[in-house]
């Protein structure tokens, strides 16, 4: 390869990384936590920590909630029966004023009290793809830009490393911190390269219709038409009907759905425009044993109960796209693979953080007083250790705020998110004001916050790690507490090591 080309790629690698490293770290950090979103939800909503029910609840038991949705003229109503990741059932519907969501006890069928939290599936997962910036979809576009930058970084990173296989086996922890950072960066980059590329690419494809609507607009009068066709949801493509129509028995309709499938259970039961003359009942077949998310949906009229549609299995191109979605969203249930995703996700975080810090370490002696260097240095702690601290503050506030808390015109769930942003902004300020000590102090704070979160879970719910480990249904809680404690220990060791070697710096990698 010509040296000019490699130099251009090196330049691109450096600046794409420095400019978007902070955003990339936030995306990968939140994505890594989203691997265990339902498990974190159980930690954050203690009322849902229930042993699995011996018998499945009849669908008609959810009728009171459906009637509420009909009275509120909901656009849709759905129920997710319990599965092996989640022992409670949940119902959701959307009205004109907002989204309503309730957890249902799988044995008694009663509605569990509102936990007053968005949890991981309501805050951490959306943050992963929208950065919580909803104005003009700005967050999603920023995620798209950062993802393209990640692909550019992966390709240019491979090009600038001539000795890629030698570097595979190079790790010099005893050398200068700068060498250590570069070795860490190369090691996590090379080992995880297929993961970094596949996850970034599949993430972009999932949001493809948002980023590249031109070909849809060229062939479809309405983008919804494409969405329905690609997802086998054409039964939703009906004119709005008159209200006041009954909804037939869900259980009887389900028996008909099973006759169509032959066998199988639903992972979601959807009633679209419930209570209107053109309402639909749709059963989404459980697909948690395979990677490909090819929906198998049987739809019935909700007024007469007759079969409306059962689309054939998707063709190759759609299946490829569904495979990429499944690969990214980990819709399948497999504990070993789920942990592997989590570990590889942490590897990506390490890759981004070490690259970011290497840029500073290699420029500290020459450019320490320039404005650009100060800016990146001031931002880096907030965007690496700061977002970890903010996430921990989110967990801690979840355990500390009393039920029904209300302050500054915000409900409990909004207050938790307020705590997240307060701590995050604080971490940025801290990094700006004390650039020399910030890594030590924030690592120590991570250590304290993680231990505190695990401790608060014990105090407020009584589920200490030994108790939760002894009960199979509490393993998600045990896993979360274990990770908090391991993270706390790692952060403590990092802080101690950094304090001894001042002014040398290394990466504080924790959970």
């Amino acid at each position: 390869m010509e040296p000019d080309f490699r130099r251009a790629m090196g330049w691109l690698h450096t600046w794409a990384g420095v400019l978007l490293g902070s955003v990339l770290f936030a995306i990968f950090w939140m994505g890594t936590l989203s691997v265990f979103d339902i498990e974190i939800d159980q930690w954050m909503k203690p009322a849902t920590r229930l042993p699995p029910a011996a018998q499945t609840l009849a669908l008609e038991r959810f009728r009171p909630s459906l009637n509420e949705a009909i009275a509120a003229r909901a656009a849709f109503w759905n129920v997710e029966p319990p599965n092996d990741r989640q022992s409670v059932a949940s119902v959701h519907y959307r009205t004109k004023t907002g989204f309503v969501s309730h957890d249902i006890d799988p044995v008694s069928g009663r509605t569990l009290p509102d936990a007053g939290t968005l949890g991981a599936s309501g805050f951490i997962f959306p943050f992963h793809y929208s950065l919580h910036l909803r104005i003009m979809n700005l967050g999603t576009w920023l995620v798209g830009l950062a993802s393209m930058a990640m692909l550019v970084l992966c390709v240019s990173g491979v090009i600038i490393h001539r000795k890629i296989f030698a570097e595979f086996f190079t790790f010099r922890p005893s050398k200068k911190p700068r060498r250590l950072l570069l070795d860490l960066h190369n090691l996590s980059g090379v080992l995880g390269l297929p993961f970094h590329i596949m996850l970034t690419f599949s993430g972009l494809v999932i949001l493809g219709a948002t980023f590249f609507p031109a070909s849809i607009n060229a062939l479809y009068p309405n983008p919804r038409g494409y969405f329905y066709e690609a997802n086998g949801l054409s039964f939703l493509n009906v004119k709005p009907g008159q209200p006041g129509a009954p909804v037939v028995s869900l259980d009887e309709t389900f028996a008909r759905a099973q006759a169509v499938w032959g066998n199988g259970s639903p992972e979601t039961v959807l009633v679209a425009t419930p209570g209107t003359t053109t309402g639909r009942i749709a059963f989404f077949r459980d697909r948690t044993q395979q990677v490909v998310m090819d929906r198998d949906v049987v739809a019935f009229s909700s007024t007469t109960g007759e079969l409306v549609s059962h689309p054939p299995a998707p063709r190759a191109i759609i299946r490829t796209q569904r495979f990429l979605s499944g690969l990214h969203l980990i819709h399948f249930h497999h504990w070993v693979l789920r942990w592997l995703y989590f570990m590889l996700g942490l590897g990506s975080c390490l890759l981004i953080a070490s690259g970011f810090l290497f840029w500073q370490a290699s420029r500290r002696t020459k450019q320490a007083n320039t404005f650009g260097f100060r800016l990146v240095e001031g931002l880096s702690a907030g965007s690496i250790t700061g977002i970890m601290l903010a996430t921990l503050a989110f967990f801690i506030s979840n355990r500390l705020l009393p039920p029904g808390a209300h302050a500054f015109g915000m409900g409990r769930a909004a207050l938790e998110i307020g705590c997240f942003y307060l701590v995050w902004v604080g971490a940025f300020l801290h990094g700006w004001l004390r650039p020399r000590r910030v890594w030590i102090e924030q690592s120590a704070a991570i250590s304290a916050f993680s231990a505190l979160a695990a401790m608060l879970n014990w105090i407020t719910t009584g589920d200490h790690p030994l108790h939760s480990l002894a009960n199979r249904y509490l393993w998600p809680v045990a896993g979360m507490d274990m990770l908090l404690l391991v993270g706390s220990a790692l952060a403590f060791l990092t802080a101690r090591k950094l304090a001894r070697k001042q002014p040398g710096k290394a990466v504080g990698k924790t959970v």
Partner: protein, 94 residues
Amino acid sequence: MVPAGLKTTARILLALGGGYWASSASFALLARVLTACGMPRVDAVTLGMMLVFILYLCLILWVFAARRVWLPFWVLCGLIAAGHMAPFFFTQGH
């Protein structure tokens, strides 16, 4: 002589904006061509949606790697023009 900062800014704008516009236009064109050849439109659009990111990636890398920026510039212009002229040749779209 053009200042270095301006050159860099031009490349960034060309890679991000021009690359985006060109990828978007070429896949609108591809989707039209594929449907005209008989592929169902949902397949044509979905296939494009997976490939478009690879094209965009290649265009970005090319704009930054090229010694002179004029060749990528004209190719991007060509792709954009082709994509936007397609509706006049394919009328069966909607």
